[in-house]
Symmetry: D2
């Protein structure tokens, strides 16, 4: 493995731990797939518990929103290169086509503008490529009061809490 | 129990079966709370598996979206007084305040315009009253190809499938 | 005229001056129609310069957005009972039916939540009633740096600037 | 002028005539700037009649929405390579920073998905580059009943109507 690939897989390993801090993310089985400043990707595996319509097997729209919401948080942390408390202010999703039952779904996002108080993100959910999306989305997050913490320090804290 | 109350609880009992057809709705523990043409309400009970931020215990935003998405489907069926295949076209959520950890969350919605192909809905998530919302939301649904079926007929079909 | 009616028309007269401070609002011919904490209404008169599609005579969608944007500013000022610098953060409009050519269009709005930094608004554009809307809408505004000023003081300032 | 440049300026000349069919677009002084399948651009020149806040000289948000709405129509026509009746279904705008008073504003858009009944668009308003936007936006348009017509035929029709 080259240095570049080694760095990349190291980043993924670290950010994956952040991704699964949320119990709900663990429930959905979210897995970090890739981390680039320009596009952060989390995937969700097919699971019959996540189905919306049992007649078609298509995943529930709420799973896609949760996937994108998690991508957004990650994309903002990656852009900041820190963890900082924040909350979703608003979020919009356009559904372009149904997800294909039984297939992995990728959620990708980028924080395209970072301000003092606000972060603007956009993203998409897809099977093969963001150019053929299941859904497109954008959102605004607002930073709230609380400590700003570097990724490595956050991971050390998590280490400290492991039984 | 009066005739009115009896009708109301009969409606709730019937529509509850429709609400939990979706495996994902069952996973989230969604429960039908009330059915009026002007406002349909589904609730989600506190559950540590649905938590977004373990530090605060606040529920994941994706749970609220899934709750509202389910309310929207119900509100449209109730307005139509039939079940009809449809898909979310787009959805917007504004988050006004964090949900209180450990409390039930109600999702309420109404279909305020029904067209030949489209249904326009709005809703809110709240603890005590839609006038003090955790989140407000609106969405557009599009009817897709497939059979239109009366509620009682749908319930008979479900009966037929029970083991 | 009773005291209540006199107060109401006095309020309208004062807020009308604020409504037309914006050159663009004057260009569109926006006129304040009513001011209640629960619903502020501005109207736009039919004008062939505002037409979007010359084949149908239907007003351009951008006029409706500008109308609603102005209503939102007004609704927030009325809720605050002060003028305060702010900017639109985001805005969504759903178009339910085309405006009828040649008819007045009313824009109504209410600020349903006011925070320290943010104001949440919703509104509708209509001919006869907000229950039969041309468009429904919601938006979030953010307060920016600058002086907060009471309505009467703002009007005195405007008086001072008249040639 | 090379063949490619000549084709490009010919396209711009033709689509410009479509852009200014709308009286409201003429009022705003919208001018076609560029036409590529991947990005269609219309610009609006600074004009004191379009100002929202006279204290700052910043353009009214409604002008930016009208600009984007026009870009969307153009982007869909260009994608179809035909003119087809349609209406805005819904539109969302996020405002990232105020426009600079006195500067041209460009509106760019692309139709990124075209269906049988719906067209999905996204766009941005900017001074220098869509990567440094004043506003970002997305919308859904719905095709309505009516004739589908090739651009050159539409221009011939317009020719026929000139006095």
């Amino acid at each position: 493995m080259s240095n570049v690939e080694s760095d990349q897989s190291d980043k993924v390993r670290k950010w994956q731990q952040i991704t699964v801090i949320s119990p709900y993310s663990r429930e959905l089985g979210l897995r970090l797939h890739g981390v680039e400043p320009g596009w952060c990707v989390i995937k969700v595996l097919p699971d019959e518990r996540l189905v919306g319509n049992p007649a078609t097997g298509v995943v529930h729209g709420g799973v896609i929103t949760a996937l994108l919401d998690s991508c957004y948080g990650l994309a903002i942390f990656v852009k900041l290169d820190k963890l900082r408390p924040m909350a979703t202010l608003d979020l919009r999703i356009d559904y372009l086509k149904p997800a294909t039952p039984g297939r992995e779904i990728f959620g990708g996002a980028v924080c395209y503008k970072l301000g003092h108080e606000l972060a603007f993100v956009r993203g998409a959910a897809y099977h093969d490529s963001p150019d053929d999306p299941i859904a497109t989305s954008s959102a605004i997050f607002m930073f709230t009061d609380g400590p700003v913490i570097a990724l490595d320090d956050a991971l050390k804290l998590l280490e400290g809490f492991k039984p």
